[in-house]
Symmetry: none
Subunit: 222 residues, 2 copies
DNA sequence: CGGTCGCCTCACGGAATCGTCACGAGCGCT
DNA sequence: AGCGCTCGTGACGATTCCGTGAGGCGACCG
């Protein structure tokens, strides 16, 4: 989840709200930094303030839309109606007027994510006795909810979204940790172990979901 | 990541940008060198300048498309609109006009990679009762999955990608082991044997997929 | 018919990789 | 301030993979 805003109190509030809703917030304070962050690690969605130090949210929206179809929500203050319309024209999915209620924000965000999910891939995955709801950040094993840490969930998502396909160490590290950690495979091992301990029903030496491809990477069983 | 460009300042900039984004850049300064590099070690994607010392990017794009579906981005200067269109016709995925912002480049690159990954139509090879999915790193024999070690898979890929064509010992060793091992034929024999044991259905003396060309090398049956 | 050459196969040991555990630092929350 | 959770690190067996060498087989040639 990318947040592009330079007002500290709003950023802080958004961080809390998003965390509660199960999202990890990446914050950028300028338009340039926002585009950079989105390019380096494409987020699920973006929340962009219309007024930024080095440009406006309309421009950021337009630039993002050149290559991405992620949901984009625009934050507008009263009296910015004109820019708001421009932002929607530029491809924003929804707008929220400041001051806003946190509940409303989350609701609109989830709605936008759901719409985006309908369009392309399936939002949730099911296999054997394991259910993964990517949108809701919920994992069920035999109908029982399993708590996963952020990294564990991102790992599982990256694997499950490419079910059957091999995910190399580098690819997993890039998707979950970021491009600058593509060589730190030991943390990857550790978290794979912890993830297995939580979702694998059988003994750890006969994994049912996450199988190891020695020397190459991991894959989610098909 | 293959970069085909002969302008030093652009090459230098691309190297830095790509490294930050988590890619390893292989640079070729001519069309011929670019095609060569791509053949020896297929990159995840290619960035090709429209103007090259020994030809143009359109031709490189077309040649690459003869055997690969990797994402191809074309770099065009202002006033090259015509060639730009030709490049897209030849199979390029996107184009970037010089001068370009590094963020935009990375963004478009990631978008192209994502599109390529999502696409179901992967360049997989099928022969008789053998299926090879290069993208997923999956090999099926009569519908049953076969586990291959990294070297075995690379060997099979090198052979299958040049189906029918002879692959000399040196060529195979260079592609799988690297340029400094081109004379160590015995390991090659061993791994060919192991590979055959896993994928050849009949007796080992009548190979169906990997045939020996005595004294020269191996080839994947057509 | 015997020798030579190239190729295939197998078993073995070294090396790299993997899974696991315990520990400590960082952070948010009460 | 104290607690709990999460994460990264390092070290340890266990597993897997890879290269080597010896032996056997068939083809070719003298």
């Amino acid at each position: 989840m990318l947040v592009v805003d330079d007002e500290p109190q709003i950023v802080r509030a958004l961080k809390v709200v998003l965390r509660e809703a199960g999202f990890e917030a990446v914050v950028a304070e300028t338009a340039a930094a926002g585009l950079d962050a989105a390019a380096v690690r494409p987020p699920e969605a973006a929340i962009i303030d219309l007024v930024l130090p080095d440009g406006d949210g309309v421009e950021v929206t337009r630039k993002l839309r050149e290559w991405s179809e992620m949901p984009i929500l625009v934050l507008s203050a009263i009296g910015e109606e004109e820019q708001k319309v421009l932002a929607l024209d530029a491809g924003a999915d929804d707008y929220i007027t400041k001051p806003f209620g946190t509940r409303e924000l989350v609701a609109r965000l989830q709605a936008a994510l759901r719409r985006a999910g309908r369009g392309e891939g399936e939002p949730n995955i099911e296999a054997d006795g394991l259910e993964i709801d990517l949108a809701a950040h919920v994992v069920l094993r035999d109908g029982e909810q399993v708590h996963l840490t952020p990294i564990e969930f991102e790992l599982l998502r990256a694997l499950a979204r490419n079910r059957g396909r091999l995910m190399t160490h580098r690819k997993l590290l890039q998707e979950v940790w970021g491009p600058q950690y593509v060589d730190d495979i030991q943390p990857l091992r550790t978290h794979i172990a912890r993830l297995r301990a939580k979702i694998e029903p059988d003994a750890p030496d006969t994994p049912r979901y996450i199988v190891t491809d020695p020397g190459v990477g991991y894959r989610f069983a098909a």
